[in-house]
């Protein structure tokens, strides 16, 4: 009987742990079958549309939950995640569909120096210390690396 209670308690605790830890897991320990990291560091505006198209196509290609997509931007490519970017609506929409947007903190600092102020980022963007480091971490976790 005690064994049953311990097992039940363990199961409930595990479920609770999983539910609380889900946001962190989605980034680092995703259960999705396919995980992609899309990389943008180009100045070329057409790359901005292309990478957003890639993200949308990936979401559309797999059943919900089967694919995870993170877009990492650094260098001139960080402009994609500027709040004023012409594609901001698409970024919001993709974000709501689960795509993660990651901005490079090193690039942000450099831009702040050049501009005299830090550029405002899209609310969907999460700043990490280094974009290149983030890509390396994700690849190590098994993400498929794509640079359109």
């Amino acid at each position: 009987m005690l064994k049953f209670f311990r097992s039940t308690l363990l199961a409930i605790s595990s479920l609770l742990f999983i539910s609380v830890a889900t946001p962190a897991l989605s980034a680092d320990h995703s259960l999705a079958d396919y995980k992609y990291v899309l990389h943008i560091s180009d100045m070329d505006p057409s790359k901005q549309e292309l990478i957003l198209n890639n993200a949308r196509n990936l979401l559309d290609a797999y059943p919900p939950g089967d694919v995870e997509v993170e877009i990492v931007a650094y260098g001139p490519g960080l402009r994609l995640m500027f709040a004023e970017n012409v594609n901001a609506q698409r970024i919001d929409s993709l974000s709501q569909s689960g795509v993660r947007f990651t901005a490079c903190g090193n690039t942000l600092k450099g831009m702040a120096k050049l501009l005299g102020e830090e550029p405002k980022l899209n609310a969907a963007a999460t700043v990490v210390p280094g974009g290149i480091v983030r890509i390396g971490e994700l690849v190590k976790q098994g993400y498929i690396y794509v640079k359109p």
Binding site: M43, P76, R79, L80, F82, E84, N85, P119
Partner: protein, 463 residues
């Protein structure tokens, strides 16, 4: 028309346009924004672009009874032949944001190297047609400074490389594609006392060096050098309202303000956007505009310099619908002063009597309606346009140009197309009084009735 009437008419028209739009119905391309701004945080540092237009045209007009030709019967800009090939436009430009991290500043530069009124009349191999910088710092009041297209009629303001016909309508050609009086032309007193202008010339005279195009300045090209305040506002439900106010030299693409006066421009539009982006964006757009200015002209037929300042006012309203497979545009344009008629002066030359009036202080108006049908599932597009232009209104030598243009376009791809146009032209003096009713060489119809049809084939390649 009183001095301020044109402007007031434009403002009232604009108010009506916006009121109608706000009431609930009405995008075509927003040229103010397309030409004056860049996509925020998504523009190149320097995007190189341009286009080439090569054409063949044949004019079927007949000379007058004495074998003389007037400009509408010949191909420009040389006005010395009735058929031939031409590279009428070859433009290369650069645009973008010089410092791409700061979307608040953008620029636009464009150079013309084709053979047309911009280069030929200025005697230049290449001519700068656009060079502007836009400052987007003030919400609702972007500032564009430099040389650029003035806010005005759709036919002039739209990007020429996506224009659906080879030639402009007669009303736009005469009233908006400004010819500046030849400042250097010193006609010997009495050499052409009847007209104060050159021509008509026979084929032999033209081949011997006589010229029907004696302008010494490039055409205005719908442009001016100055400062424009403008912006576009999303007012909800896919409606966009735009405005522009500009002050400029009033000297086209020339960098001077030779008369010491400035031209002022005002433009308002309301658009219901249906979708898409760029020059072929879909929507329903209502617009109204007006411009006021003055020009110096020596219209007397003597060898003495006696310049007089004449008002040059223009105004118009219009609507454009664009939703594939259909396109339709209607525009009305009115003008007061500096009505271009002749080959070297805004003068009057279709008859043999200067007493009949002069374009410098005359009025004129016209309108056009055009439509296009993109044949579904093909690369073909059919176009049709009717335009009518009445010049020297209410004067005894009033004349009217009516033109039908039937067209077909084949789009090899979105950047390359071939355009076939056939123009059916009916030009006549129609005041119902002498000299229109006069006989023989005394009537303007002596020269106008021979104006015939014209066919053209043009290849456009955008890069």
């Amino acid at each position: 028309m009183g001095e301020n009437k044109q402007f007031k008419r434009a403002l009232i028209g604009a108010a009506c346009t916006l009121a109608f739009a706000a009431a609930g119905t009405a995008h075509a391309a927003n040229w103010l924004m397309l030409q004056g701004t860049e996509d925020p945080a998504a523009a190149s540092r320097a995007e190189v672009w341009g286009f080439i237009q090569a054409k063949y045209e044949k004019d079927f007009s007949d000379p007058n009874a004495a074998g003389g030709f007037v400009p509408p019967k010949l191909l420009g800009p040389e006005l010395d032949s009735q058929d031939g090939f031409n590279i009428n436009r070859a433009r290369i430009g650069v645009r973008g944001t010089g410092f791409p991290l700061d979307s608040r500043i953008n620029y636009f530069v464009l150079l013309e190297m084709g053979n047309n009124g911009i280069t030929h009349d200025g005697g230049a191999f290449a001519k700068l047609t656009d060079a502007s910088v836009t400052l987007n710092h003030i919400p609702g009041a972007r500032v564009r400074a430099g040389l650029f297209k003035t806010p005005g009629a759709e036919e002039g303001l739209q990007a020429i490389h996506v224009f659906d016909y080879i030639n402009f309508t007669e009303v736009t050609n005469a009233l908006l594609l400004e010819r500046f009086p030849n400042k250097n032309w010193t006609e010997a007193a009495g050499s052409n006392a009847a007209t104060g202008n050159v021509g008509p010339f026979t084929e032999a005279q033209l081949q011997s060096g006589a010229s029907l195009n004696t302008f010494d300045s490039p055409i205005g090209a719908f442009r001016d050098v100055g400062v424009q305040v403008f912006d576009a506002f999303d007012v909800g439900n896919n409606w966009e309202v735009s405005y522009a106010a500009m002050i400029g030299n009033g000297n086209g693409i020339e960098f001077s303000n030779s008369d010491g006066e400035y031209d002022t421009y005002l433009y308002l539009s309301a658009e219901k956007k249906f979708g898409g982006k760029g020059p072929k964006a879909e929507g329903l757009k209502f617009f109204a505009w007006g411009q006021k200015g003055s020009r110096l002209l020596d219209k007397t037929d003597d060898s003495t310099a006696n310049l007089v300042s004449y008002d040059r006012d223009r105004a118009g309203v219009g609507v454009k619908y664009m939703k594939k497979p259909f396109r339709a545009t209607v525009e009305y344009i009115a003008a007061d002063g500096m009505i271009f008629v002749g080959p070297d002066k805004p003068n009057f030359y279709f008859t043999n009597n200067t007493a009949h009036g002069n374009g410098a202080d005359a009025e004129a108006s016209g309108w056009y309606a055009e439509g296009g049908w993109y044949i579904p599932n093909t690369k073909f597009e059919l176009d049709a346009r009717f335009d009518t232009y009445t010049s020297l209104e209410d004067r005894v030598n009033q004349f009217r140009f009516d033109k039908w243009t039937l067209g077909m376009q084949y789009h090899f791809n979105p950047k390359t197309r071939i355009t076939l146009n056939y123009e059916i032209r009916d030009f006549e003096c129609d005041s119902g009084k002498a000299p229109c009713t006069s006989a023989g060489a005394l009537t303007p119809d002596y020269n106008l009735k021979g104006v015939g049809n014209k066919v053209g084939l043009q290849l456009t390649a955008i890069f």
